[in-house]
C-alpha cells in the first residue's frame, strides 16, 4: 500500500508541476504571490498524501475492527502467559496511531478545508469567475478520485455528521445575523415562496416525474408515485447553504437576498413534513383523507413548534445573559449552547430544527447584545463566522468526495427529466406566485427580480443528505435518486452559480450598497415609523404599522425589563444606535494609532464650530499658540489619555475585564468623550480633528510614556490591579524631559511647569466641580488648563455616568 501511495504522490506531483508551469506561463509573474501559491500547493499535496490512508481507514471500518481484534487477542495472550513474561525495556518511543485516529482525521479534514479556503483567496482571478462552492466541489472530486486511485473507499458525507455538526453553525450564523427589518417587512412574500412555492414544486416535479417514468416504461416503470413525490419534495427545496455561498459573493440587493435566502430557510418545515409523510406512506402503502389532513396539521406543528422551541431557548439565553456580567468569558458559550440545544430539542420531536435555530438566534440577539460585553459580542461574531465558513467548506468538499464514493445508477431519462422539471417548476412557480403576491405588495417585484429569484433557487447538500438517509428496502431506486440529486446539485451550483454573477451584471440588477448606516438615516427611519403610525391612527386604520408600534411598546415596557440588566433596558433604540456608532468610531480611533486621526464616519473636515450658532467673538480672541506646537501638544495629550487605561489591564484566565462595572465598551466611550471634550475645550483650534501626523518619533513616544497623568488616577475599585506606573519625566529619559519642557516654555502658563501630573491632580478636582458652570465664562482659563494639564477633564469624564 505504501508503494501505492508513493506512486500516487509521485503522479500528483507530476501533475502539479505540469499545472504549475502552465500557471506561470499564463500569469507571468514571479513574485511572493507565486511562491505563496507554490507553498500552499505543496502543503495541499502533503495533506492529500496524508489523507489517503486515513480516508481509506475511515471508510473501511472492518479493517480497524479486525486490527482491534488481533490486538485484543494478543492482549489476552499476554495476560494468560504472564508467568513466563520476560521484562522488556521501557518503550521510550511508542507508536499508537489508532488511539488518536478519529480526532486526527477530523483535524486534518478541517485543516484541508481551511487551506483550500486560503488557497482560493490567493488566486484572485479564479475566485472572480468561479464561486467558491464550485471549486470546493472540484477539490472534493479530486480528493475522492485520489482516494479511489489508491484503492480505498472514499468516505461519504454521513447524514448524521451533516445534520448534527455541519449544518447547525451555518444556520445559527444566518439566524443570529438575520437582518430583521427586511425579513419582517417581506415575511408575507417569503412565506408564500417557502410554503406554497415549495409545495407546488414538490407536487409538480413529483407528479411529472412519475409521468415520465410511466412513459418510459420498462426500467423506470416500476417506480411508484410515492417515491416520485418524495423525491420531488426533497429536490424542490432551495438550500440555504448553497444560496448563502453564492449570494454572498454576488452582493445582490437586500430585497432579493432576503427573499431567496428567507425562502431557503423557511421551506425547511415543508420539506421535513413532506419527507416524513411520504416516507411513512410508502412503507405503509396507502393514503387516506385523514392522512392528508394530518399532514397539514403536522406541517403547522412542525413549523410553529420549531419556532416555539427556538423562541423559548432564545428567551432563556437572553435571561441567562442578564447575569453574566461577572463572568464575561463564558458569555459567548451561552449563545452557542442554547442555540444548539434548541436545534437538538426540535430534532427530538422531529420539529424543524432549522426554524428553531433561526427563531432562537433572532429572539435572543437584541437582548443578548444589550447584556454582554463588546468583546463577547466580537467573539460571538467571529466564532459564528469561522464555524459556518469551515462547515460550509467541508460540506462542499464532502459533496465532491461523496460523489466519487457513492453507488451510482445513471439513467439518462430520469436525470434529464429531473433537471428540466426542476427548472420549469421553479420558473412557473415564481411567475405564478409573483402574480398573486404583487397584488398585495407595495413594492412590486419586477421581471428582473423574478428572474433572479427563480435563477437563485440553488439545491444543495440538505437534499443529498435526505436522499442518502432513505431506506433501501422501501426505495429500490435509491441509487438512481442519489445520482439524480447529485446531478441537480451540480447543475445548480455549477451552471447557475457560475452564470448568476454575469447575469446580474448584464441585467443591471440593483446591487447592495456597502455603506454604513448613518445617524441621519437612523433618525429618519425612526421618524418615519412614528409618522406612519401616527397617520394610520388618524385615519383610524389599524394597519401593520399600528400593530408594530403596539408590539414595540410591549417589548419596551415588559420584555426588555425582564431580559436586560440595568440601565440599558430603558435605552431607546436611537440612543442605543448612537452609542454603538460612537463606540465604533472610538475603536477605529484607537486602532488608527492612538487617535491621531479621526475615523471616516466622523466628518473629518467639519468641526462643531461650523454648525454651532456663532458664539461671541471674544472666544476667538484668545492668545494664539503656533499651530504646529499646538498639534504636537494635543497629540501628546490625547494619546496619553487613551493608552493608559489599556495598560492597566492585567491578564486573568477567568475574567476578561478586571473591573466588573467597567467593560471595554465604557472604556472606549470614555475615551471618545474625553477626546471630544478636549476638542471643545481648546477653542483655539477649530477643527474637530487634526490632519494625520506622521508616526511618532521615538522622542515623542517616550515623552508620552513619561507624562502619563493617568497612571496616578486609579479609581479605588481598580486598586488591586497590577498597574504599570511610569515615572513622570524621570531622569532616565532625558529626551522626554526636553520635549515636555519645550512645550511648556511655549505655553504661557509657567507656574504649573514642574507639576504635570501629581500636583495638578489636586487642582483638577477643584476645577472639576465648576467645570460645567465656567464653561462659557472663562475661555481663557479653560484654554490654559487644556494646554497644560489633560488630567482634570479626563478624570472628570470618568466619574460621570455616560449612560443617562
Amino acid at each position: 500500500m505504501i508503494l501505492c501511495i508513493t506512486k500516487c504522490i509521485h503522479y500528483v506531483l507530476h501533475v502539479a508541476i505540469f499545472k504549475k508551469t502552465n500557471d506561470t506561463k499564463v500569469i507571468h509573474q514571479i513574485s511572493i504571490m507565486d511562491r505563496l501559491k507554490r507553498t500552499t500547493f505543496i502543503l495541499f499535496l502533503m495533506l492529500v498524501a496524508s489523507l489517503l490512508p486515513l480516508g481509506g481507514h475511515a471508510s473501511s471500518p472492518e479493517v480497524g475492527t479486525g486490527n482491534g481484534k488481533v490486538r485484543d487477542h494478543q492482549g489476552n495472550g499476554d495476560t494468560t502467559h504472564k508467568a513466563n513474561y520476560t521484562k522488556k525495556a521501557f518503550p521510550v518511543l511508542s507508536f499508537d496511531y489508532k488511539n488518536v485516529r478519529t480526532p486526527f482525521e477530523i483535524s486534518l479534514w478541517v485543516l484541508l478545508a481551511s487551506l483550500m479556503k486560503l488557497g482560493f483567496h490567493l488566486i484572485p482571478r479564479v475566485s472572480n469567475i468561479v464561486p467558491e462552492s464550485c471549486l470546493l466541489i472540484v477539490v472534493g472530486l479530486l480528493i475522492g478520485g485520489l482516494i479511489k486511485l489508491v484503492g480505498e473507499d472514499p468516505p461519504v458525507l454521513s447524514s448524521k455528521v451533516f445534520f448534527f455538526y455541519l449544518l447547525p453553525p451555518i444556520i445559527l450564523d444566518a439566524g443570529y445575523f438575520l437582518p430583521m427589518r427586511p425579513f419582517t417587512e417581506n415575511l408575507g412574500t417569503i412565506l408564500m415562496f417557502a410554503v406554497v412555492g415549495t409545495l407546488w414544486n414538490a407536487f409538480f416535479i413529483g407528479g411529472a416525474l412519475y409521468g415520465v417514468c410511466q412513459l418510459e416504461g420498462d426500467y423506470l416503470g416500476k417506480v411508484e408515485l410515492l417515491s416520485c413525490l418524495l423525491f420531488g419534495s426533497v429536490v424542490s427545496a432551495v438550500d440555504p447553504v448553497a444560496v448563502l455561498a453564492v449570494f454572498e459573493e454576488i452582493h445582490i440587493n437586500e430585497l432579493l437576498h432576503i427573499l431567496v435566502f428567507g425562502e431557503s430557510l423557511l421551506n425547511d418545515a415543508v420539506t421535513v413534513v413532506l419527507y416524513h409523510l411520504f416516507e411513512e406512506f410508502s412503507s405503509v402503502g396507502t393514503i387516506t383523507v385523514t392522512d392528508v389532513f394530518l399532514g397539514i396539521v403536522c406541517f403547522l406543528v412542525v413549523s410553529l413548534g420549531g419556532i416555539m422551541v427556538g423562541a423559548m431557548y432564545g428567551i432563556l439565553a437572553a435571561f441567562t445573559s442578564r447575569f453574566t456580567s461577572h463572568t464575561r468569558v463564558i458569555e459567548p458559550l451561552f449563545v452557542f449552547v442554547y442555540s444548539y440545544l434548541a436545534y437538538l430539542s426540535a430534532e427530538v420531536f422531529h420539529l424543524s430544527g432549522i426554524m428553531a435555530l433561526i427563531a432562537c438566534g433572532a429572539v435572543m440577539r437584541p437582548y443578548v447584545e444589550a447584556n454582554i460585553s463588546h468583546k463577547s459580542h466580537t467573539t460571538i461574531k467571529y466564532f459564528l463566522k469561522m464555524w459556518s465558513s469551515v462547515s460550509d467548506t467541508l460540506i462542499f468538499i464532502f459533496l465532491g468526495v461523496s460523489t466519487v464514493a457513492g453507488k451510482h445508477n445513471w439513467n439518462w431519462t430520469f436525470v434529464i427529466a429531473t433537471v428540466v422539471l426542476c427548472l420549469v417548476a421553479r420558473v412557473l412557480g415564481v411567475i405564478g406566485l409573483t402574480l398573486v403576491i404583487n397584488k398585495f405588495r407595495i413594492v412590486k417585484l419586477t421581471t428582473k427580480d423574478q428572474f433572479i429569484i427563480a435563477y437563485g433557487g440553488l439545491r444543495g447538500a440538505i437534499a443529498f443528505s435526505l436522499i442518502y438517509l432513505l431506506d433501501e428496502n422501501h426505495f429500490a431506486r435509491k441509487d438512481m435518486f442519489l445520482t439524480a440529486i447529485i446531478t441537480v446539485i451540480f447543475f445548480t451550483v455549477f451552471v447557475q452559480g457560475m452564470t448568476i454573477r454575469p447575469l446580474v451584471d448584464l441585467l443591471a440588477v440593483k446591487k447592495k450598497q456597502e455603506t454604513k448606516r448613518s445617524i441621519n438615516e437612523e433618525i429618519h427611519t425612526q421618524f418615519l415609523d412614528h409618522l406612519l403610525t401616527g397617520i394610520e391612527d388618524i385615519c383610524g386604520h389599524y394597519g401593520h404599522h399600528h400593530w408594530k408600534d403596539k408590539l414595540n411598546r410591549f417589548n419596551k415596557k415588559y420584555v426588555k425589563k425582564c431580559l436586560i440588566a440595568g440601565e440599558r433596558s430603558k435605552e431607546p433604540q436611537l440612543i442605543a444606535f448612537y452609542h454603538k456608532m460612537e463606540f465604533k468610531q472610538a475603536i477605529e480611533l484607537v486602532e488608527s494609532g492612538g487617535g491621531s486621526k479621526l475615523p471616516s464616519a466622523m466628518p473629518s473636515t467639519v468641526s462643531m464650530q461650523n454648525i454651532q450658532p456663532k458664539k461671541p467673538s471674544q472666544e476667538r480672541a484668545l492668545p494664539q499658540v503656533s499651530k504646529a506646537r499646538e498639534e504636537e501638544i494635543r497629540k501628546i495629550l490625547r494619546t496619553n489619555l487613551q493608552k493608559t487605561r489599556l495598560r492597566l489591564r492585567s491578564y486573568n484566565r477567568h475574567t476578561l475585564v478586571a473591573d466588573p462595572d467597567e467593560d471595554g465598551w465604557n472604556e472606549f466611550l470614555i475615551k471618545r468623550k474625553r477626546m471630544k471634550d478636549l476638542e471643545k475645550m481648546s477653542h483655539v483650534n477649530n477643527y474637530l480633528t487634526v490632519p494625520a501626523p506622521p508616526p511618532d518619533s521615538p522622542t515623542i513616544a517616550r515623552a508620552r510614556l513619561a507624562s502619563d497623568p493617568q497612571a496616578w488616577v486609579i479609581k479605588p475599585v481598580t486598586g488591586d490591579i497590577p498597574t504599570i506606573k511610569v515615572e513622570l519625566a524621570s531622569p532616565q529619559s532625558p529626551e522626554s524631559v526636553s520635549v515636555v519642557d519645550e512645550f511648556k516654555k511655549s505655553s504661557y502658563e509657567q507656574e504649573d511647569e514642574d507639576g504635570d501630573g501629581l500636583v495638578m491632580k489636586a487642582t483638577s478636582l477643584v476645577a472639576k466641580k465648576d467645570e460645567t458652570g465656567e464653561d462659557d465664562k472663562e475661555p481663557q482659563q479653560r484654554l490654559q488648563r487644556c494646554l497644560s494639564d489633560p488630567g482634570p477633564s479626563a478624570e472628570d469624564e470618568e466619574d460621570e455616568p455616560f449612560l443617562p
Binding site: N438, F440, I442, V443, K444, Q513, T515, S518, I519, N520, E521, I523, H524, T525, Q526, F527, L528, H530, L531, L532, T533, G534, I535, E536, D537, I538, C539, G540, H541, Y542, G543, H545, H546, R553, K570, E571, P572, L574, I575, Y578, M581, E582, M602, P603, S604, T605, V606, S607, M608, Q609, N610, I611, Q612, P613, K614, N686, Y687, L688, P804
Partner: protein
C-alpha cells in the same frame, strides 16, 4: 343582512327587525367606546373644517412621540400649494386628502422621472415637517428639536443625548454636503438639496407608504 334579498316591503321590514334584534349590547358599547376616533374620522370625511383640537382628540395618537409634528403637518400651507406660507387654522376634506396623498404607494409602472418626482414630493413633506420656521433650511436648533421629540417618550434621560445625537447628525450632514470647511465658515443648516443627498440610501419612495386601498372599513364602523 347583506345577503337577504327581500321581495316586498313586509319582508324587508322583517329582515330589518331581525337584524336590529341581532345587535347586541356589547356592540353598542363598542360603538360608544370608539366614538372619539369615529368622530375624528367622520368630521374629516364630512368635509367640515377640522381643527387642531380634533386631531389631539385622536386616542391612539396620544402615545406618539412626534404627535405635534404630525398634527402640524396637516395644517401646513406648504403641503397644499407650491409657495404657501404659514399654517392654517382649519382644514377641509380636500386638504386632508392632500396630506394623505403623500403616503400613497407608487404605481407599478413608473418611469425614472416619475419615481424621482414622487421621491422629491415625499421628502419635501418630511423636510417641511422639520423646517418649522420655513426658511428653507433645517437649522441645528430645529434638528435638535426633532431628535428631542423622537426621544420624548423615553423618559427624562434623553435630553443631553438627544443634543449629542443631533449634533453628530448635523456634523455628518455638513461633512457630506459641504466637504471641507474653513474654521470660520458657518454651516447654516440643511437645505433641501442636502436633505435629498443624505437620505439617498433610504429608499423613501418604498418606505413612506400606507396601504389605504385594502383598508378594512368595517373596523371603522364596528
Amino acid at each position: 343582512m347583506r345577503y337577504a334579498r327581500p321581495n316586498n316591503a313586509e319582508e324587508l321590514k322583517a329582515t330589518i327587525r331581525a337584524t336590529w334584534a341581532l345587535i347586541t349590547p356589547e356592540q353598542c358599547h363598542r360603538l360608544i367606546d370608539s366614538m372619539p376616533r369615529r368622530i375624528a374620522a367622520v368630521i374629516q370625511a364630512k368635509g367640515a373644517p377640522t381643527k387642531r383640537d380634533d386631531f389631539n382628540k385622536v386616542q391612539d395618537l396620544k402615545d406618539n412621540p412626534i404627535r405635534s409634528q404630525i398634527v402640524e403637518a396637516f395644517f401646513d400651507r406648504r403641503n397644499f400649494q407650491k409657495d404657501g406660507v404659514g399654517s392654517m387654522e382649519e382644514i377641509g376634506f380636500e386638504e386632508f386628502l392632500t396630506v394623505m396623498s403623500y403616503f400613497r404607494a407608487p404605481a407599478l409602472h413608473t418611469t425614472e422621472e416619475q419615481r424621482e418626482e414622487i421621491r422629491r414630493a415625499k421628502l419635501r413633506f418630511l423636510f417641511n415637517m422639520h423646517d418649522t420656521d420655513n426658511d428653507g433650511t433645517i437649522t441645528l436648533e430645529e434638528y435638535r428639536h426633532v431628535v428631542e421629540e423622537l426621544l420624548s417618550r423615553s423618559g427624562s434621560l434623553g435630553k443631553e443625548t438627544a443634543k449629542g445625537i443631533a449634533d453628530a447628525a448635523m456634523l455628518e450632514v455638513a461633512s457630506i454636503s459641504v466637504g471641507h470647511m474653513a474654521p470660520d465658515e458657518f454651516y447654516e443648516g440643511i437645505t433641501f438639496e442636502d436633505f435629498l443627498k443624505i437620505l439617498k440610501e433610504l429608499e423613501i419612495e418604498t418606505r413612506m407608504n400606507i396601504r389605504f386601498l385594502n383598508m378594512d372599513t368595517t373596523v371603522l364602523c364596528k
